[in-house]
Symmetry: C2
Subunit: 416 residues, 2 copies
């Protein structure tokens, strides 16, 4: 029964994707602007729905970072509306010309961008993803099937239905934006095998979801948002800057995937860095776990277990490890990192170049917080998630990352 | 035991991929040129090995198209060597600059191309793929694990070992090019779950392989080379050109994935097209299957079954169907096609534009043979296969398609 419902949503989405792929930019932009104004006009309805989700969440004992992710306020609702307007202002990627050649026989070959078709996205508690994902998919000519988390079901339902109501008057095709009204794992299992209707499935979420999808999906998948991110403080780092950036990477929004989970410190500077760094973190309320050499320097630190190096806390917890060299830092990162965002704090040009070249991740920073890995910061307007795989898209996924290509070739009777 | 062997090949490949990713273009080009000259020098050894494969193939009753694919001759060996030289002459995609921005905080963000890492490729009888794949992977900074078909095992072993011998003196890392010395399905099953060592698996081959991989692979996959390609003869097509191109698309090399399998003919021109077209095909030795309306026009045609519309013959067989309109042709293609190569033969500008926009395939042609979908014809030097999926790569896969991206960002202490 659930399977039939979701498959029929898939069918409608395929139909809608055909209409969407041939809509021109101004038609799509008009819909986006209308959806933005609908979100503004109906913000009370969204806040009410969100309140229901928050009350249920508190009753069910959701952790503080999860409640923080779930929360909407007038600012965040304005952010959703502004995000849709920003997407409307971006260049339309569809039918963009990517190059051309004339082969020896005179056939003119052009490469153009085309939409992917139907995009499925599975996401957790953050309800603004509903608006961002729908907006990006619409502008890139794709139909979207949204599956949000159970914690946010009332917020998501309300946001999706407001956008659909708003867009319909401006020609939004039926089935262009659909929310799955089931938050159980069963609908995820159905989506991951829906090859007839889905061109790609984008899971945003934790390890469990990722593992289930990696092992069972038959549709093409883009893995996003697993972030065991590191900040490495090199021996040459300017100490005040190093402490400031490392602390920011941890605490500015710990529930996001680009927050730092582990800080690596060069053994030459443990004395000058660790006491102040740990004090800064502790004063912000961060629980600090460290290896033996960290504890030797600051005895209040909790001993880290092997498990800690691979853990994405998404919380006010950090692990700190002392390394003997830049190469040891890079090896640790390539071993335990998830290929998301990695930063070196250094004053050495050579170290910075080595780090940028050899760390294998979507985004690699010198003297900046890992927190900058974000569609907004990268100029994409919004994002569908941050890809941590190498295939198709890596890093924040904006409009371009939601397209494929097509070669169109014009001849006058050429044969081979 | 087999699993351990293949996993240890995977480990060595990962090691090699790290070395390869930091080699500069001239180092890689020297290796490619050396491999090309080794292939020329040792061509007798390759021909001998190929002769063994061909004899075994004939004894085992391989079909003519398969034997044709398997066959190497001095020209084809020269083609492999020239292909490696061509790859050496192409621009190195690694560390290519793809764009940059400065965010509001002053962090400079650059997007650059990086290798994928370790690429696995499973291919069937054509032994030149061994050289093409190894050359493309090397130039794009990737390690490659090759699994060829059992029919070509002697040819593949010889080609791989000649390339490795040739390249080693010029600094080819151990493990950069590895052939799996097992041609059973078991090694395919191992490869498709080797997430620790493979960044992508590219299966080139038939429906059975594709299905097994789609259902079971846990590694990222790029599906290639499934080609149920169509030529549609529009009512306005110039008849002589139309017949010539349609026949070429079928017969010029029927064992390739870009060969046409079905010809669609507009109902207005059945009388002027079909008799001549069927006669041309028959005189070339093509078995023609058609729907009722085709048979009504040319009684010698064999009745086509529903199965025929979805069949990739890869042989001297073609199916012909009469359609009432351009839209019926496009609907048929989008339903039965595999998203590979599709061609319209027409003199109508409007029909050509409709076809180019609405046919959902990697390559869409006007007045040219589907046979042009090929890495060489598209200026890529060689190809790893022709992707029939939308994710990551679509159409012929050359150097660019074997890369991912990385964002590198330089700041001076920015936080968020």
């Amino acid at each position: 029964m659930l399977k039939e419902t979701i498959c029929s949503q898939g069918q409608i989405a395929v139909q809608a994707s055909k209409e969407l792929s041939s809509m021109n930019s101004s038609e799509k932009n008009r819909i986006l602007l209308k959806m933005a104004s609908a979100i503004r006009t109906e913000s009370c309805e969204i806040l009410q729905a969100n309140k229901m989700d928050l009350e249920k969440g508190r009753k069910n004992g959701l952790s503080e970072p999860l409640l923080e992710r779930l929360t909407l306020d007038p600012d965040r609702i304005e952010g959703m509306a502004a995000g849709l307007e920003k997407i409307a202002s971006l260049d339309d990627p569809v039918w963009q010309h990517l190059g051309s050649c004339k082969n020896d026989n005179g056939v003119e070959i052009q490469k153009v961008r085309v939409p992917l078709g139907v995009i499925g996205i599975i996401y957790e508690s953050r309800p603004n993803v509903t608006a961002d994902a729908a907006g990006l998919c619409l502008k890139s000519g794709n139909a979207v099937i949204l599956k949000g988390g159970k914690e946010a079901i009332n917020s998501n339902r309300t946001i999706a239905s407001i956008m659909k109501r708003g867009g319909r008057g401006e020609g939004l095709p039926d089935g262009a934006i659909q929310l799955i009204d089931d938050t159980s794992r069963e609908s995820t299992s159905i989506l991951m095998k829906m090859n007839d209707y889905l061109d790609v499935l984008i899971p945003r979420g934790g390890k469990g979801l990722k593992k289930a999808i990696q092992e069972n999906a038959t549709v093409p998948v883009i893995m996003t948002g697993m972030g065991v991110c590191h900040v490495y403080i090199d021996s040459s780092a300017e100490p005040v800057m190093a402490r400031r950036v490392a602390v920011n990477a941890k605490i500015s929004r710990p529930s996001t995937c680009n927050a730092a989970e582990t800080i690596l410190v060069h053994s030459d500077v443990t004395g000058s860095i660790l006491p102040g760094l740990v004090a800064d973190l502790a004063s912000e309320g961060v629980e600090v776990r460290g290896d033996e050499r960290v504890i030797k320097e600051v005895s209040s630190v909790i001993p880290a277990k092997d498990e800690d190096w691979k853990t994405e806390y998404l919380d006010m917890i950090v692990s700190i490890k002392v390394v003997n060299s830049l190469t040891e830092a890079v090896d640790h990162i390539n071993r335990y990192g998830t290929g998301h965002s990695e930063s070196i704090l250094t004053d050495s040009y050579e170290s910075s170049q080595y780090f940028l070249r050899n760390v294998d991740a979507a985004a690699v920073y010198v003297n900046a917080s890992t927190r900058f890995t974000d569609g907004g910061e990268f100029g994409f307007g919004a994002e569908m998630g941050i890809s941590t795989q190498k295939l198709h898209a890596r890093g924040p996924m904006g409009l371009e990352q939601l397209t494929s290509v097509k070669y169109i070739a014009r001849g006058n009777g050429q044969t081979r």
